[in-house]
């Protein structure tokens, strides 16, 4: 308005507000053509992406020679398992699916009993939600069923899904007090399933996806005790600053290579002499700094040495060492364990170090008040850890543990390359060596297939773990 006269008519008429349109045209303008430069980028990207998609589509549907995958699908899924005992695998899958369903139903029931109800979804919305959650898995299963060609796998898939649904419905009937019995049943049924599968063929004959899952699950499950112990050991004792403790630790750590040096002779031209000397010096200094900070310095040093060693070396080399050298470390008269056992040993030791770091992060995230409260109640260190600290710490790091499992799942490919275990990627090699397919360059078909299977498994697990992380409210409370 005119500041002197207060006259408003001199103002230009106000423009009507622009309607907040949300049509397709506006979306395109906002997201693809913000500016001239943006528009050019969009066009170029569209051309490149279109070309890539075209080539990909043509490869998958037209020019790809998928015969090798179709015929060897059994090899890819279960390796050398006897073909007339496949019913055991079907039973095992149904049992696992049923148990999963029961457990999920039980968890739902617990939540409902506790009064936590999610939004009520119509069946259509529910289906849409499940689809958006599990579309990679559904795609993978669909691709496998289509490649299989026969009708039996479809029935098997239906049976597995049916078992899961039935389990879910049954699990909903189980109230809170059924948790411990359920866990016990879970362990027992796992043992039973393994016994059923091993009855027909030892795990040296398992192959494909089956052995990949076995290696990964065995690795992550078996590494838990060691990993948790290492994490606790790394934080063992009270925080102190004792030079004396540091010196003691440095002396102990440096003494070991020096003793070895004395025993094997000090010949300056031999590399071993210098290696041991270097180890003594490094160990002594490292031990001093780690040791002086704790009231239980030696335990800390042991944990740190283990963790830093296994985190600093490649898994590939460890697998080689285990394959060629594990037999040397067992007393004479002991059979060298089979390749599957050797691989699982390496995976366990290796993953324990990573798990220790993950659990250590979880322990650090716990407020000190928890431990203090437990001590105030008179709980000893073991009870404090077992009942108060570890449950909370582990719950906080479940997504990281799942991430580590995904890593291990992918690392099983190394065991195939080093030891000849017939896991997914090695099956691709073996399939390419068959008389019908040798020399035809079919790696371009088998390896993408293997990559697809891995992608399905890993992305499903990783998305579920992100969802779990959101649900558990990790980091928010």
């Amino acid at each position: 308005m005119d500041p002197v006269t207060g006259d408003l008519t001199a103002l230009a008429p106000a423009e009507p507000p622009r309607p907040a349109t949300s049509g397709a045209g506006d979306w395109v303008r906002r997201n693809l053509f913000r500016s001239v430069g943006d528009g050019i980028v969009t066009v170029v990207a569209a051309v490149v992406i279109g070309y890539v998609l075209f080539r990909l589509g043509r490869y998958v549907f037209v020019t790809g020679r998928w015969e090798i995958v179709r015929r060897n699908l059994g090899l890819f899924m279960y390796g050398r398992y006897p073909r007339d005992e496949l019913w055991r695998i079907v039973v095992a899958l149904c049992a696992i699916s049923a148990y999963g369903g029961v457990f999920a139903g039980h968890l739902d029931r617990r939540r409902a009993d506790a009064g936590i109800t999610g939004p009520r979804l119509t069946p259509a919305a529910r289906a849409r939600d499940l689809l958006s959650r599990f579309w990679p898995l559904l795609l993978g299963v669909l691709v496998l069923l289509l490649l299989a060609g026969t009708a039996t796998p479809w029935f098997v898939a239906l049976a597995v899904v049916g078992a899961g649904v039935a389990g879910r419905l049954g699990g909903g009937l189980l109230g809170k007090r059924w948790l411990l019995p359920l866990l016990g049943v879970g362990v027992a049924s796992l043992v039973a399933v393994m016994a059923l599968l091993l009855d027909a063929a030892g795990w040296d004959r398992w192959g494909g996806l089956m052995i990949t899952i076995l290696l990964a699950v065995a690795g992550i499950v078996l590494c838990f005790p060691l990993g948790v112990l290492l994490a606790l050991g790394r934080r063992a004792g009270r925080e102190v600053n004792s030079i004396g403790g540091g010196i003691v630790v440095a002396a102990v750590v440096a003494a070991i290579p020096i003793v070895l040096l004395v025993l094997t002779g000090t010949d300056p031209s031999r590399p071993l002499t210098w290696i041991l000397l270097g180890l003594a010096v490094a160990g002594g200094t490292g031990g001093f700094f780690v040791g002086k900070r704790s009231s239980l310095p030696l335990v800390r040093v042991l944990s740190v040495v283990y963790i830093e060693f296994f985190r600093g070396v490649p898994l590939y080399v460890l697998l080689f060492l285990s394959y060629l050298g594990l037999g040397f470390f067992l007393p004479r008269g002991f059979d060298t364990p089979g390749i599957v056992v050797r691989a699982v040993v390496v995976f366990t030791l290796f993953t324990a170090a990573y798990l220790a770091e993950i659990v250590r992060g979880g322990l650090q995230s716990l407020p000190r008040g928890q431990t203090e409260a437990a001590q105030a109640l008179g709980l000893g260190p073991i009870r404090t850890n077992a009942l108060i600290v570890l449950p909370q710490a582990l719950r906080n790091v479940i997504p990281s543990i799942v991430g580590q499992f995904i890593s291990l799942f992918k690392d099983t490919t190394l065991a195939g390359a080093v030891m000849g275990i017939l896991e997914l990627l090695r099956t691709s090699d073996v399939a390419n060596a068959q008389a019908d397919f040798a020399g035809a360059g079919l790696f371009a078909e088998t390896i993408p297939f293997v990559m697809f299977v891995f992608w399905v498994g890993c992305i499903t697990m990783s998305r579920e773990s992100q969802r779990l992380e959101r649900k558990l409210g990790v980091g928010t409370r």
């Binding site: 906002r30 997201n31 693809l32 913000r34 943006d38 980028v41 969009t42 990207a45 569209a46 992406i49 004792g237 102990v252 094997t264 031999r270 590399p271 071993l272 290696i275 009231s295 239980l296 310095p297 030696l298 335990v299 042991l302 830093e308 060693f309 600093g312 070396v313 490649p314 898994l315 590939y316 080399v317 460890l318 080689f320 060492l321 060629l324 050298g325 037999g327 040397f328 470390f329 067992l330 007393p331 004479r332 995904i406 992918k410 690392d411 490919t413 190394l414 390359a417 990627l425 360059g441 790696f443 371009a444 390896i447 993408p448 990559m451 891995f454 992608w455 890993c458 992305i459 990783s462």
Partner: protein, 403 residues
């Protein structure tokens, strides 16, 4: 009122000089703690001694040497792409392998950082296509095993894309003096005159450029004129580098095709190219996620403030957002570098003569397995520790100093 007989006062708890209740030594927590520790350490030492004893026992029984003397034996295998002779000792072969590993790791780290940062920024782009393309790339690469990617890169990509140089099958691609490509290798323009001198030239470039940039910055702060440190620093550095180059007599060598071989320049063999490509693609997808996360961790106000003082979007990213994001992301990115260094061992499977491949060859040629692989583990451990010390140093330098 009855007078209560006062009960006799309880005898006082025995106390030591410091006022603590006296506890017999076998129940004293501090002594028990040390006893526990020594027991654990003794247990660990016993375990190691048992394993060592078994190893010596078995080695003696099978007549396999259990020392490191194999390092002095002649290697008996050739190493492709180098001047290594079969008669040289194994330890020279291991040094060659180490150089190859470092070539792979250094190039991989640089390329992965560049690609990863670009993809990470693309993930945050407002352009739908670019954003989604980056997302699909990251979500796919992160969920497949590196080993599968490596083998695919080698067998189905590098060997298929590059032309077959043999007559009648296409012949090589010759891109002027810059590059020659065929399935024998990718030859690229390179300098001539030794690696050390090249490093000197690069050092001169860096130092002169940094000094010039700093002088320009000071001048600009004093006078208010635009600094253009990048321009000035770059030009000055290049000039100085060129002068040193001419002084040292370095030349440029262009790759040339003679028959089937590429002479001159520097040749990247297909295994090297495939391993580098696979490592870069895989690591960059992880780095992209880290970069995205750390950029998102920078408070939005920073970007808005940058807009308020009319910085261009490049300036906003380069001067305001990225430096802060870097501080958040350095430990995680450093971890990815460590992973890359360890993953370089996988290149052994596609015949790239790096450390693991060399030790594997030497074990196949009758070196004892356990000492050889133990040495290999030690070398990787040293590489990892050095890398992680560097990362820690960078982290500490970049850490936000709070008042």
């Amino acid at each position: 009122m009855t007078a209560h007989a006062t009960p006799a006062a309880p005898s006082p708890t025995p106390r030591d000089q410091r006022g603590h209740a006296a506890v017999p030594p076998w129940r004293d927590v501090r002594n028990l703690a040390w006893l526990f520790q020594f027991a654990v350490v003794l247990g660990a030492i016993a375990l190691v001694a048992w394993l060592w004893g078994n190893y010596q026992d078995r080695s003696a029984a099978s007549n396999i040497p259990s020392s490191f003397s194999f390092l002095n034996q002649p290697a008996d295998f050739p190493i492709s792409g180098s001047d290594f002779r079969r008669t040289q000792p194994v330890r020279a072969a291991i040094v060659e392998g180490l150089f190859n590993t470092l070539r792979l790791v250094v190039a991989g780290v640089i390329l992965a950082t560049v690609v990863g940062t670009l993809v990470g920024i693309a993930r945050l782009s407002k352009n739908f296509l670019v954003n989604k393309a980056a997302q699909v790339y990251v979500e796919f690469i992160r969920n497949i095993p590196l080993f599968a990617l490596l083998v695919l890169m080698y067998s189905a990509v590098v060997l298929r894309v590059l032309p077959d140089p043999r007559p009648g099958r296409g012949g090589s691609w010759e891109w002027g003096p810059v590059a020659v490509l065929n399935t024998r290798g990718i030859g690229v323009l390179w300098f001539e005159g030794g690696n050390l001198r090249f490093v000197l030239v690069v050092a001169v470039f860096a130092v002169v450029g940094a000094v010039t940039a700093r002088l320009r910055r000071r001048r600009s702060d004093a006078t208010g004129a635009p600094a253009r440190t990048g321009l000035w620093g770059g030009v000055a550095g290049l000039a100085a580098a060129a002068a040193v180059w001419a002084l040292l007599g370095l030349g440029i060598s262009a790759p040339e095709l003679s028959g089937l071989r590429t002479t001159g320049g520097i040749v990247m063999t297909p295994p090297y190219a495939a391993a580098l490509a696979a490592l870069v693609i895989y690591t960059s997808s992880h780095i992209a996620e880290i970069v995205r996360g750390s950029i998102l961790a920078v408070p939005r106000g920073q970007g808005e403030a940058a807009n308020a003082v009319a910085l261009s979007s490049f300036q906003r990213m380069w001067f305001v957002v990225l430096p802060q994001a870097l501080r958040v992301g350095v430990p995680a990115i450093g971890n990815q570098y460590l992973n890359l260094a360890k993953n370089s061992s996988l290149a052994a499977a596609i015949a790239f003569p790096e450390l693991t491949q060399i030790v594997g060859l030497s074990v196949a040629n009758r070196s004892p397995a356990v000492p050889a692989f133990a040495l290999l583990l030690l070398i990787y451990l040293v590489i990892s520790l050095v890398l992680s010390a560097l990362v820690n140093l960078a982290n500490r330098r970049l850490a936000i100093v709070e008042r």
